[in-house]
Structures are given as C-alpha cells and as structure tokens.
C-alpha cells in the first residue's frame, strides 16, 4: 500500500529536483526557469510541504529535463537556500545549493521608475551586478540603484 506521503513526492527516474524552495515561491521559480505553457515534460510542484529546516518549503520536479547550472543559479535571487538534485536512474548524481549569479541579465526589472531601462522607448535589457549574497542585494548596472530581498522578487520579469 503506497502511503499518501509517498504519492505526493514520488521519486523520478531522470531529471532535476529543486528542493528547499522558499514556501510559496515554486511558481516564481518556474517563471525564472522559463518553464511554462509550452513545456512538454512532466512537472510536479508541491507547495507548503512541512520541512524540519525551513518550517515549510516548496519542491519542483522536472522530469527528463537537465538545466544548466547558470540557469538554475538564477533561483537564488528569490530562494537562496534552494538545492538542486540531478537525478539519473532514480539516483542523485549531483547535488548543490544554488549560488546567485554575479551578473544578472534580463531576469529582474529595475524598481527605479526613472531608470533608463524603464523608458519604454529604449528597449534596454536590464542588467544588475550582485552586491551581497546574504541577504541578497543587487545593483542596477545603469542607474546604480540597489535592490534587496522582496524588492527583487517583486520585479522578476
């Protein structure tokens, strides 16, 4: 008899499991990864799972998908403790905690309304440099405005 718990978090044969996502942020994580309507493989999302370390957490399982480290590290912008498990043949072959990228291009919008990147005319791709990992803070390459924590999250493109 399969327990309810097991049904909820069934192991996958191959793919990427993103664990320890800050509770409630799973959908934002998918957005950052570009996993949307046209994604063809199975995606399982579990939200608000009890966690010893975090109280509550979200988990995402992307079956048959192996994203590169650069893409996965973008998750650190909204969930710095997220862990990546690369699964092959039901086994974890690689595991790491995401690291925020030192340069962030095209993922976050500058919150300064007077920043040139927010001028409708310009079509400039927003670009930031990492100022601090913990707590997370980034600086706009153009206007130098610093954004931190929730400000970053709210401005995910």
């Amino acid at each position: 008899m399969i327990s309810l718990e097991e049904l909820r978090v069934r192991p996958i044969r191959e793919g990427t499991v993103i664990d320890h996502i800050k509770a409630g942020k799973a959908l934002k994580v998918l957005k950052i990864l570009g996993v949307g309507e046209d994604h063809e493989n199975i995606v399982s999302i579990v939200m608000n799972v009890p966690s010893k370390k975090m109280g509550k957490k979200d988990i995402i399982k992307l079956e048959s998908v192996f994203l590169d480290k650069e893409t996965l590290n973008k998750i650190a912008l909204i969930s710095p403790k997220a862990t990546i498990n690369i699964i092959k043949d039901f086994k974890v072959v690689e595991k790491y905690v995401v690291e925020p990228p030192s340069i962030i291009i095209g993922i976050v919008r500058c919150q300064n309304p007077r920043c040139i990147t927010n001028s409708e005319r310009e079509h400039v791709t927003p670009k930031f440099t990492l100022v601090s990992k913990e707590p997370i803070a980034i600086r706009c390459h153009y206007c130098s405005r610093i954004m931190a924590g929730e400000e970053i999250e709210k401005n995910i493109i």
Binding site: I116, T117, R121, E122, H123, Y142, C143, S144
Partner: protein
C-alpha cells in the same frame, strides 16, 4: 602612466585619485586660456556634440565655452523641441547617429543611467552632463578644483557638507571623491534629510573621517571648507517646518563670526535663501568663482579625452 584618452566620464566613482589629480593639474594649465589671456588651438578640427534632453544652461554653456576656447567646434541641441527625439527616436538611435558627426559627446538626460547607456552604444567618448537624480561627475570635479585653488588643496582638509544630504546627488558624488583625499567630512542636515547610512559606511570604508552634527555652529568651528546645498521646500509636507529648518541652517554674517579666517564657502548654485547676500562680499564667498572653474575643468577633461 595615467591616461584618459578615449575614456567615458560617467560617474566620479569610475575615476581613481590619480586620474582626478591629473584632471585638476591639467585644469591649472587651462586657466589662462579659460580667462581669455591666452589662446589655444589644441582641439582644432575636433567636434563636441552637446545633447541636452533637458535644459541646463550652466553645464551646456561651460562645455561649449571650454571647447571653443581650445579651438574646437560645437554642435548639439539644448531642447528636444524640433529634433528626432520628439518624433519618438530612442536615445540609443540618437547616439548612433550623432557619434558619426562628433568626436566627443556630452549628454544630459532626465533618466538615471542614460549616460551609461549612451556610452555603451557610442564608439566615441561620452561625458555625463547629469542624468536625472543620478550622476554629474564634472560638477564634482569642478568642486574639487575650487577646493584645490581656493582652499590650498584637498588632502587633510576639514569639510562641512550642509543641507539636503539625503537626496542631493551633488553631495553624494562629492563626498565619495573627498573620501579619496583623506579628509574629515562633517555632515550637517535636518534630521529628515540625513546622509543615507550606506553612503556613510562607504565613506568610512574608503578612509574618510565622517562625523554627523546637528549644530551648524559647532560643525563649522575649525573647518576649512563649507559646502552649502539647497534644501528644497518640496521635501517638507509642512511648510512651517520648512521655514523653521531653512532658517536654522542659513549662512549669514553672525554665524561666520567664529570661523577660521581661511574658511571658504561653496555652493553649486542656484541658491535661494541658504546664504545671505551680505556674505557675497566676504572673502569666504567662493561660489561664483566656483562656477567659473567649470570652464578650465571641462577644458581639461575635453583635452585629456581627445588628445591625451
């Protein structure tokens, strides 16, 4: 060797102390030409484009004067009225077109980060003439030059920064540059317009001695330089509060009774009520010569960028 040939000047933070000193010593050489006592053709055949997407008479005219005094030519606009910008052209496109016409570009634009974008697009050097509430590096350079000329140097001086230290971009850029010169920076402002904590932390990390004062009288005792900025009425929801604050930080002859003989008073202008007109006649007042120094400093920048 320090060289600025072909460089963009976007933020004072892009310049090292050596590069700042290079500009200031070049400005010394430019002084007789700026005053019209000597002539120069060193930038003959070179063209400066002044692209002013918002008006600023002083910055634009002093850049144009600087270029003309060195024998160069000037093109540009001082308002977007009648230009392709009004037809909806992007800044990037305007810059790509103008770089084909000029050897160096000065830009003033209402959006922060616009000069940085222009510099990325342009193969020709770009100088930031003020980007909204962002950076205005040539203002900082002329402020430093005024200190060098009128206070006998910058190193080891005691400088009081007075006024709106929260929103004033001038004082942020200036204080950063002052930190490179081993100065003591005294901050005086209304409580609601204090220098942001992160800037104070940065300044201390750079080696500046930073002290906050509530009493202007106490702060200016023993100081070498008093840098006054305007406190804007709009910053105060209550007009009576503004009147009270503005009054308590006003520079007049009474407050200047106990200051050092050699104290110089600076102001980026325009001033409103911050400095009483009586003060203009004292030897402390240096704000008008300060605005003149914009010419030799901008001459130095143009020369160093264009010919090295």
């Amino acid at each position: 060797m320090t060289s600025l040939k072909g460089r963009d000047i976007i933020s004072i933070r892009d310049l090292s102390k050596e590069e700042i000193e290079l500009i200031l010593s070049e400005a010394d050489k430019m002084l007789p030409i700026a005053e019209g006592r000597e002539t120069s053709e060193i930038l003959r055949g070179k063209i400066l484009a002044t692209l002013f997407f918002e008006p600023s008479t002083r910055t634009r005219l002093s850049f144009e004067t600087a270029m003309l005094r060195l024998g160069g030519g000037v093109i540009g606009f001082s308002t977007t009225e009648g230009t392709s910008v009004m037809k909806g052209e992007s800044l990037s496109d305007t810059i790509k077109v103008v770089e084909g016409y000029a050897d160096v570009i000065v830009i003033r634009h209402p959006y922060e980060g616009s000069a940085k974008l222009a510099a990325e697009v342009s193969a020709k050097p770009v100088i930031n003439g003020g980007d909204g509430a962002g950076q205005h590096p040539t203002q900082t350079l002329l402020d430093l030059y005024t200190m060098k000329r009128e206070a006998g140097g910058i190193d080891d001086k005691i400088i009081v920064l007075l006024g709106d230290l929260k929103y004033g971009r001038t004082v942020h850029s200036l204080s950063y540059a002052l930190a490179l010169f081993n100065t003591e920076i005294r901050l005086v402002s209304p409580p609601s317009l204090k220098m942001p904590e992160e800037i104070i932390r940065d300044l201390k990390e750079l080696g500046a001695k930073v002290k906050e004062y509530t009493s202007l009288k106490e702060a200016i005792r023993g100081a070498d330089i008093l840098y006054v900025t305007r406190i804007q009425k709009e910053r105060f929801p209550d007009p009576t509060e503004y009147i009270k604050v503005a009054g308590s930080y006003r520079i007049d002859l009474t407050i200047l009774r106990d200051v050092k003989e050699s104290l110089i008073i600076m102001h980026p202008l325009p001033r409103v009520d911050e400095i009483a007109p009586d003060v203009d006649k004292t030897k402390h007042a240096k704000y008008f010569i300060q605005s003149f120094y914009g010419v030799p400093v901008r001459m130095a920048i143009l020369k160093l960028i264009l010919v090295g």
